[in-house]
């Protein structure tokens, strides 16, 4: 019954979107992070989405989506001259993380929209399955 596998597909989508929400939360929470060297400063985390292919039935629909990796941004941290800062290095510089709050907020909205549409799919499928069970009554 193909309708049952939709629960797995939508569930995979919901779990992938919640991982994305987690990275957004982590990035936003660390948005003010500063450090005395570029290696120690927080770098934004980004999830990489990948389709789960059905290897046994290559001609069929795929089996949803998964987070294949969480990569850290390779953008160089901002260098700010602030000799009064207790974290400043000998030359008076502090390094600030490159988390972009606007980017993270749009990412969060996109994730929550996608999560909602996955929930919608699940609800519709549930109704269809229940109606199928009641067939002929």
């Amino acid at each position: 019954m193909s309708l049952f596998s939709i629960f797995n597909i939508a569930g995979a989508g919901m779990s992938a979107q919640s991982v994305r929400m987690n990275t957004v939360a982590s990035n936003l929470a660390n948005s003010g992070n500063t450090a005395s060297s570029p290696d120690k400063v927080y770098r934004p985390r980004l999830p990489v989405f990948q389709t789960i292919m059905d290897r046994l039935n290559p001609g069929e629909a795929n089996l949803g989506v998964r987070v294949s990796a969480i990569v850290t941004s390779n953008q160089e941290p901002q260098r700010i001259y602030d000799p009064g800062n207790p974290l400043a290095n000998k030359k008076g510089y502090v390094f600030k993380t490159t988390v972009n709050a606007i980017e993270e907020m749009t990412n969060m909205m996109s994730a929550s929209r996608s999560f909602q549409s996955n929930v919608e799919i699940m609800n519709t499928t549930k109704q269809l399955l229940l109606a199928t069970l009641r067939m002929g009554q």
Binding site: I6, A61, I121, L128
Partner: protein, 138 residues
């Protein structure tokens, strides 16, 4: 007296099967709306249903396997083979990450597909009710 269920139920039992498969394909499109390089897929409902109905119909000249020894399968598998039917959707607008899913279109199609499924289900329900009332003879 015996009832040929294939004739009574008509095309709706195959339609339910194909609609179920299609809703799965559309669900995977929606779920992969944020996956880079994912290409949205769909089936041509009319041709797929015709193919499935032809392969399942008993008296329209389809080829059956001959069972010459014990243990041979006597019937051609009636499972839908989606290989040649699964097509790629033509994107309405390009996107930077190579993804061709348009969430709004996919959700609209998914909803439409669900309504068609319910319609077929209701037709089937009606057929079963007719059979039951014929038995009762009231």
């Amino acid at each position: 007296m015996f009832i040929d269920f294939d004739k009574v139920l008509g095309v709706h039992q195959q339609a339910l099967n194909v609609l179920g498969k299609r809703s799965r394909i559309l669900a995977s499109n929606i779920v992969n709306a944020d996956t880079p390089n994912y290409k949205a897929r769909d089936i041509d409902f009319r041709s797929t249903l015709r193919k499935v109905a032809d392969s399942q119909g008993s008296d329209n000249g389809t080829v059956r396997l001959e069972a010459s020894a014990q243990g041979h399968f006597s019937e051609v598998s009636t499972e839908m083979t989606a290989d040649e039917n699964l097509l790629y959707r033509v994107p309405l607008q390009p996107s930077l990450d190579g993804n061709t899913v348009d969430s709004q279109t996919e959700i609209a199609m998914y909803t439409e597909n669900a309504i068609r499924y319910q319609a077929s289900l209701r037709f089937l329900s009606g057929k079963f009710k007719s059979i039951v009332s014929a038995f009762r003879g009231e």
